[in-house]
Symmetry: C2
């Protein structure tokens, strides 16, 4: 029993699988919204680079390592560390991703999400969900416990928009240590106004809310959950994944679903992660990656509130812990990933 | 014990998985080479349409049902029947595929293969193989028995070219009842000459042979086998899959690998399927789909030598038989697939 993960995860998976949904959204390019990539210009490349880092510890399709403007390196380093130490297989699922990674990935279709202030964001939401459900139903026959993470720059803003349309205050977290909450709320307000919605007005039309205000990751993650309904599912992420829980709740989806995230998300006072999770009544596993002990500033800064979570890092660490991996090993291996990652020449 | 499958398959998989590699090659567009699609114009669309048919019994991205010039409907109908009856999950893997299917698929990268008469066919062969091996190694943790089929129009000609470069006479089969063997040999001779090779001259460079003379399906299937080396693998197909065995042999790859195909391939006197398989010393399972009892001429013509095999049909039927599916059920369900398939308006 570990003292760095609460509560105790009382199931030892036989054939765990780590999925990570990667997508793009124009909403993520609004200056100031996202810390995934040092500039909006590179946001389209970040999810694919995360996939390459997790699969190969190598960045191929992006000119540099994904790093936040504050200097935090991508949480994919933690995910890679956890999966390497445990041997748990990963599979990246693309949905509306412009720049495809140079590793094998499953494509669930769709185009990149639009800017929610000015257009219907994911017109193909229902179709993406259906395709992802088909994929999930197949994976359900192979794995007994599936972790689902995400990498989509700007995803907290679309998550907030969808939650508010469904009637959840949904104060989302940020990959920046100072959460640009006023900017996010302004974007959400304009988006709601654009599609004639208001707080809670789309409660009975969750798919419509995804289509108008979401991003392509959301219907993909929900579709996977739907297809995996007879398998244990752990959503791996912060407020974006909490938003998925609220949509699943609005859709009356059943299944054995919980959520796992890093303590950096839970400690974010600007956000209401725990409140959202409690409202939908699901179990939340909180993981302390212990990164204050990292020797590398771009990793250590997580313990001071930078970046916090992403690429399913918290869930990947939880999964690894079930295979005996310790917090100390996670810290050391995360540093090692950053030390050894192969960058483009 | 069934009397329509020889020899007896003495393993009952716990978590079987059916993979199907789909690719394009310009070699397949040489008039007269392939029966996959009623005209060379549509060959790029055929593999994706096969995937849609197997996954959804629906053709979405191609204007019509893939049908040979002789009127045989795609063998994907048999594959769909077998997988539907047994509930065995399928996953399509694209490698050098131009027209992507409207179902989830795993992309292993690469560009469509070139015309082997005039250019290096698959310059990225080594890279495709590496990516597919990564995918295979993940699937190995989830499934204990993986069937690997293919759909690539024109694939028998590239298979023949690779086998001859490795020193196997490799008389390949055809999806046409009259095998255009002279045309194929003429293409192979020109291809060998183009790259300065001759019969057996590339025995010590199998990856080079794949790159010069193969198609994108070949390195992908080989990479999957490599990654799956600790899992039971059944190649599902005719002479194209036999060619994969010869390359694996030349590469000294190990693993528990066998091959399964329909009796229509084995009975093809123009080809030397059994001879190739015996030379590499692997077990071959021969399946009699019993299609002479079909009520539908585009299916019944398989029993007269049309189309014969493809989309892993024989292997899918073998897999289904292990779950108690009978020959009669296969015949009836194949007819039913053709009766109910949804075509584009």
């Amino acid at each position: 029993m570990s003292d760095w993960i609460h509560p105790h995860f009382d199931y030892r998976p036989k054939r765990p699988l780590f999925l990570c949904v990667i997508s793009n959204t124009e909403t993520g390019k609004i200056p100031g919204v996202s810390a995934a990539g040092s500039s909006p210009r590179l946001t389209d490349y970040t999810p694919g680079a995360d996939a390459e880092l997790v699969e190969l510890n190598k960045i191929i399709t992006m000119p540099e390592l994904p790093t936040s403007p504050e200097g935090a390196t991508t949480p994919a380093t933690m995910t890679r560390a956890a999966l390497t130490l445990s041997g748990i297989p990963s599979l990246f699922v693309t949905s509306g991703l412009r720049i495809k990674p140079a590793v094998p990935y499953v494509d669930a279709g769709g185009s990149a999400g639009g800017d929610i202030r000015i257009e219907t964001a994911v017109p193909e939401a229902a179709e993406i969900m259906e395709r992802a459900a088909l994929l999930g139903s197949k994976l359900a026959t192979l794995s007994d416990c599936v972790f689902i993470g995400e990498s989509i720059a700007g995803g907290t803003t679309t998550a907030m928009a969808v939650m508010q349309a469904l009637g959840y205050p949904g104060k989302v977290s940020s990959s920046l240590s100072k959460n640009p909450m006023d900017l996010k709320q302004e974007i959400v307000d304009r988006a709601l106004e654009r599609c004639g919605a208001s707080f809670g007005s789309m409660r009975s039309d969750p798919i419509g809310a995804l289509a108008e205000l979401g991003d392509p990751m959301m219907p993909c993650a929900l579709g996977l959950m739907k297809g995996l309904r007879d398998t244990k599912v752990v959503l791996a992420g912060g407020t974006q994944m909490a938003a998925i829980l609220t949509v699943a709740d609005a859709l009356d989806m059943d299944g054995d679903v919980s959520i796992a995230t890093t303590k950096y998300i839970v400690e974010d006072k600007s956000a209401s992660f725990m409140k959202i999770v409690e409202e939908v009544g699901q179990t939340c596993y909180v993981i302390d990656p212990g990164l204050e002990r990292s020797a590398m500033p771009p990793i250590r800064c997580y313990a001071e509130g930078s970046a916090k979570e992403g690429v399913g890092a918290g869930g990947a660490i939880l999964a690894a812990s079930l295979w005996g991996v310790t917090q100390q090993q996670i810290v050391e291996e995360t540093d090692n990933v950053l030390l050894t990652v192969e960058l483009p020449k």
